[in-house]
């Protein structure tokens, strides 16, 4: 190729190309290939002008995608011939002022392999330094105070760069070029180990050694991480796990376990296909994985369940701790139950005092909390249960632009927020249950931060129709116009967004309790239509919940309700409660599938009093999975529908009620669930199968009526893998196409995004 005949290209890229070292990467690639020109950020995209010979320009264009930094996910928007302007070098130009629509707030990521290698190299100046990071890794969302993303606008503002770090920061050839949180032992944050009643330790090594010694001795250490504190203890010591459970108190809720690497993880749990890449991804979420056969993890980690929430060490500090300890650690959120994870050293010290034996603090502030994200593999694909550190803020695209910016406040439980404007939506990390002061304070902070950082002011708030959700007063005080969205419409619209090719739906929205259009407490509903035009066409037979809200933690109450509704006695329930239920005192009617699962958990004797939300259904599913029911025939789901229909699985009668709504009657389940001649596992399995059959029956009726064969499953109940996989197999065998969400949580964490989509559809 003649080099004296320079050509030029104008290349435009989009994707996560800001805040991930993309421009320095472009610079290095261009310099390697001897190209001249420039690169700059323009309104959320990267624009490149490159001059050189055509072979090198082609190699450059390929390399921009193929060799891009792992976090960047670039998309080529344009690659056009341009006029050469005879430049003599390659430069990174200052960013053009970016318009509001194109701001991107990066998420927090793991420590990358290069940084980890430096930490393990005794000759490196960051040897065993717990705050090592570069443009390819480390915290972002939890330390950014404002944009533009410069060090002065982050939690690192108080750590002036030393000359060595500054040199890296200013060198375009260095992978720490403009890595805003970079630090080293000379200029960066440090660790501090504090044990009740003794003086804080001296340096980082002493702090680490003390923490590891405490963990080895079976003690509980509160460790400050990226998005908040973890409560940690040795995952192989049952006594330590039980002490943690007793003090938190958290008698049964499963605890997450952090492993040093994939090998040690694979020795304790089985890794289904697809799970390994997710668990090792830069987001490093918790993934629920089946317990292994030879695990030496403490049995108290997930009692009564078949899975363990696993994650890999993600921050440099975690790597040091786990390596020095030489084994897995329990890593559960350092919080008070239902509240966002604690982030502030002083507040954590006070509020975790009765739980933790010691604290491993550091002095890099955490600007806002981010809990670990959680995924569960269902139907071949890990699906989000909770968005959090590494996965949120989740930036999503709307099908059409909004007329005005809105902030959706989501649900009361598993609250998340969603800020949306133009054709963009940003879904926040998990905030928590809105019963606590700290949850509401976090909601207010995240609402404010998202609007400030994205430079968008919501002109309207979207909220659930339920008048008692914890954000109601905050919403009223905002002075903004409010728009209420029905709970299950939001669920259905969030699901529909993931499948833009489908226009007419049958959506099953099964969850706990959400306020329905008739003022009832819904949660076992089937809708036909699409966003903005959902019509409820099928439901479950309603039953009255004795003690209203208290039913959520007391599966025995739902069990009593089913017995009483069918004229049976419930000897385990107090007479006073029965009398109050008969008179309708604090006993509202509900069609919630979640409460039916609770009832089944209690009637089978699997769980009558829950120590955490969803304990009954989770344990019921786990025990059902262990069933050797003859209809299961191994794991084959082929012909399942006809097999189950001819079996002892009770079919649920389906008929229209006086308003024309199809209702499945759960009554035949009551006798089966209490039939002690069957094993618990068998009863639990038949219950799942029976509900899946009822769902298919409803879908078939609605297909006859509405002529539609696209089925969606949403709502927290479909976090139940057994139910979901049974329903899916039978629906597909009956000729339906079935859709499950994979990007946005199926539970109430997806409600805020769904509110935006439902609002958008209603605006048309």
């Amino acid at each position: 190729m003649p080099t004296d005949d320079p050509q030029a290209r104008r290349i435009t890229l989009a994707g996560h190309v800001q805040g991930v070292g993309f421009r320095p990467f472009v610079y290095r690639l261009a310099v390697e290939l001897g190209l001249r020109g420039w690169v700059k950020n323009v309104t959320g995209r990267v624009e490149i002008h490159a001059e050189g010979d055509s072979a090198n320009l082609d190699a450059f264009a390929r390399g921009l995608i193929a060799q891009a930094p792992p976090l960047a996910l670039p998309r080529l928007l344009g690659n056009e011939v341009a006029k050469p302007s005879g430049l003599d070098d390659f430069r990174i130009l200052e960013s053009s002022a970016s318009a509001e629509a194109d701001i991107h707030l990066p998420t927090d990521n793991f420590v990358c392999p290069q940084c980890l290698a430096e930490m393990q190299d005794p000759g490196n100046r960051r040897y065993r330094y717990a705050f090592t990071n570069c443009t390819q890794c480390g915290p972002r969302y939890t330390l950014i105070r404002a944009l533009p993303y410069d060090r002065a606008n982050t939690a690192m503002a108080g750590f002036p760069l030393c000359p060595a770090c500054r040199a890296e920061y200013e060198d375009p050839m260095d992978r720490r070029f403009h890595a805003e949180p970079i630090a080293c032992p000379v200029c960066g944050p440090h660790l501090e180990y504090v044990e009740a009643g003794s003086a804080p330790t001296g340096d980082d090594e002493a702090a680490l050694a003390a923490a590891v010694a405490a963990l080895k001795a079976g003690r509980i250490v509160a460790v400050k991480g990226i998005g908040g504190y973890h409560l940690m203890c040795d995952a192989r010591r049952e006594a330590a796990v039980q002490a943690l459970r007793a003090r938190k108190p958290r008698p049964a809720k499963p605890l997450a376990v952090m492993f040093p690497d994939l090998d040690s993880l694979a020795r304790q749990v089985s890794l289904p296909p697809g799970a390994a890449s997710l668990i090792a991804s830069p987001a490093r979420p918790i993934v629920l994985l089946p317990k292994g056969k030879t695990s030496d993890l403490a049995p108290g980690i997930a009692p009564g369940l078949a899975e363990i929430g696993c994650l890999l060490a993600y921050s440099p500090l975690h790597h040091l701790l786990l390596r020095d300890l030489g084994g897995p650690l329990v890593a559960t959120s350092g919080n008070i139950s239902g509240e966002p994870v604690l982030t502030d050293n002083a507040e954590a010290t006070v509020r975790l005092a009765r739980i933790a034996d010691a604290f491993l603090h550091h002095d890099r502030p955490i600007v806002r909390p981010a809990d670990d994200a959680v995924y569960r593999p269902i139907v071949q694909c890990p699906r989000p249960v909770r968005l959090g550190r590494g996965t949120a803020p989740l930036e999503l695209e709307l099908p059409r632009p909004l007329a005005e910016p809105v902030l959706a406040l989501g649900s009361h439980m598993k609250n998340t927020l969603c800020l949306a404007w133009n054709d963009r939506a940003v879904l926040s990390p998990h905030v928590g249950e809105l019963d606590s002061e700290r949850s509401l304070a976090t909601l207010a902070q995240v609402a404010e931060d998202l609007q400030r950082i994205y430079q968008v002011r919501a002109r309207r708030l979207l909220l659930d129709r339920h008048p008692g959700y914890g954000y109601r007063r905050w919403a009223r005080d905002s002075g903004l116009p409010l728009r209420e969205i029905w709970h299950h419409h939001a669920h259905a619209s969030a699901l529909a967004w993931e499948f833009p090719g489908v226009t007419d739906w049958i959506v099953f929205a099964w969850d706990g309790v959400g306020l329905g259009e008739d003022g009832g407490l819904w949660g076992g509903e089937a809708f036909v239509g699409g966003p903005g035009r959902w019509q409820r066409r099928a439901s479950l037979r309603p039953f009255r919940l004795p003690g209203a809200d208290s039913t959520g933690r007391a599966p025995w109450r739902s069990a009593a309700a089913l017995l009483w509704e069918t004229g049976e006695a419930a000897p385990f329930a107090p007479e006073l409660l029965f009398q109050a239920w008969q008179r309708g005192i604090n006993a509202p009617a509900s069609s919630a599938a979640g409460r039916l699962f609770d009832a089944a958990a209690a009637l089978t004797g699997v769980c009558s009093q829950a120590s955490f939300e969803g304990e009954g259904p989770m344990r019921l599913e786990a025990i059902a999975e262990s069933s050797s029911s003859p209809w299961r025939r191994g794991s084959s789901l082929i012909g399942l529908g006809s097999r189950l229909r001819g079996s002892d699985v009770p079919p649920l009668p389906l008929s229209r009620d006086e308003s024309g709504l199809w209702r499945s009657d759960w009554a035949p389940l009551v006798a089966m669930l209490g039939d002690t001649t069957l094993t618990q596992a068998e009863r639990a399995y038949r219950f799942h199968a029976s509900l899946a059959l009822a769902l298919v029956d409803q879908a078939e009726r609605l297909r006859e009526e509405a002529g539609c064969h696209e089925v969606g499953l949403t709502g927290g109940v479909f976090q139940n893998r057994l139910l979901t996989e049974l329903a899916l197999a039978m629906l597909e065998q009956a000729g339906f196409r079935v859709h499950l969400p994979a990007r946005v949580p199926v539970n109430d964490a997806g409600v805020s995004f769904g509110q935006v989509l439902e609002f958008l559809a209603l605006q048309q």
Binding site: P249, I336, S337, G338, E339, R351, R354, S411, H412, M413, K414, L434, D435, S436, E437, R438, L440, H466, P467, G468, Y469, G470, R472, R473, H487, D511, G512, V513, G514, L515, L521, G523, L545, P546, G547, A548, D549, S550, T551, G552, P574, E575, L576, L577, Q579, A580, R583, I585, N586, P588, S590, G594, E613, G716, D748
Partner: protein
């Protein structure tokens, strides 16, 4: 006539009405000021700052363990004056009676009213009766105006409340709400729980003049939580209650747990909530604990700088928001 029932004729201004007033109301309530023939009366002996309050009373059932509508009405009005720093002196009484009410019941209720008024040094100065048709009233409604004279030296108002102040309650909460509910629903429960319906005048008197006392209120409908919300809104600060310190009887607690109620929202009819400077709080506590109605008094929380809201500190260190009472709270667990 004690074995008969109230007729519409008892309200028609004729003989039946005259006899009813004479045999029931005048017989129990007579005192030198009350003149059933006069249209208006003079109230003698009122000197100083006159305070007035009015309240209407309805309860089902009319008689419940620990009290009845008659004593409840007296306590309600006496308590409103007492927490405002006034000694109650005179009442007016307006009775709306439902056709068909047993005269014997009416007689017991008015006798109870009269006894409670006497115990608190109050004279009924004026009265009125009306009869409404069967089905148009809950047996008996009483409307009572109370007139008193202020004795507390400094005015007691929520405006004086400051961050750091302590919050106290004079006894266990929710007794009235649960006792009346159990009686109303005629649950087959023969528990020992009685309403707390009582005069708080002695408790109020004992603390009126303590320097550093900011505010007194009797929690009635809506319970402790509702008073705390009023304090939060008026003072602009957060009210923090410590769950472990709020006195709740075991029976009330277990009925609440069973039926899914929160005791903080249940009615009391004989308790005072006080807000006082921290040092004064100990004096209030000591004064109350020395009195018969205050032996279970406790410091239950504090005023915290911050946004006006009610926070319940749980025994596990959680800080739960207690919302203002909604019309009809719906379950929200999803």
């Amino acid at each position: 006539m004690n074995d008969s029932r109230i007729l519409l004729a008892h309200g028609n201004g004729g003989r039946f009405m005259r006899e009813l007033i004479a045999d029931v109301f005048a017989r129990h309530l007579s005192n030198p000021v009350l003149d059933t023939d006069a249209d208006a009366v003079h109230l003698p002996g009122l000197e100083g700052e006159i305070m007035v309050t009015v309240d209407g009373f309805t309860v089902q059932p009319l008689e419940f363990p620990g009290g009845n509508l008659g004593s409840l009405a007296v306590h309600g009005v006496v308590n409103d004056l007492a927490v405002a720093g006034a000694e109650p002196r005179y009442f007016t009484l307006s009775a709306i009676i439902e056709e068909g009410l047993e005269v014997a019941v009416l007689d017991r209720l008015i006798a109870s009213f009269a006894a409670a008024a006497r115990e608190n040094g109050v004279a009924v100065a004026a009265g009125d009766t009306k009869v409404v048709r069967h089905g148009e009233g809950g047996g008996l409604y009483l409307s009572v105006a109370g007139i008193g004279v202020r004795r507390a030296r400094a005015p007691l108002s929520m405006q004086g409340i400051q961050a750091g102040d302590a919050v106290l309650v004079s006894g266990p909460i929710g007794d009235h709400g649960i006792a009346v509910m159990l009686a109303r629903e005629q649950f087959g429960l023969s528990g020992d729980l009685a309403s707390d319906s009582a005069s708080v005048l002695p408790l109020a008197r004992a603390v009126w003049d303590l320097p550093g006392l900011r505010f007194l209120r009797d929690p009635t409908r809506g319970g402790l939580a509702t008073v705390a919300h009023e304090i939060a809104h008026a003072s602009g600060h957060a009210v923090v209650l410590e769950q472990a310190r709020v006195p709740v009887r075991d029976t009330v607690q277990s009925v609440c747990e069973m039926l899914g109620y929160d005791p903080y929202y249940l009615a009391c009819e004989g308790r005072i909530v006080a807000v006082a400077a921290p040092r004064t709080a100990q004096q209030v506590l000591a004064a109350w604990q020395d009195l018969p109605g205050g032996s279970e008094a406790a410091v239950i929380g504090r005023i915290e700088a911050g946004r006006p809201q009610l926070i319940l500190e749980t025994e596990l260190g959680g800080r739960r928001i207690l919302e203002e009472l909604e019309d009809d709270p719906l379950p929200r667990i999803c």
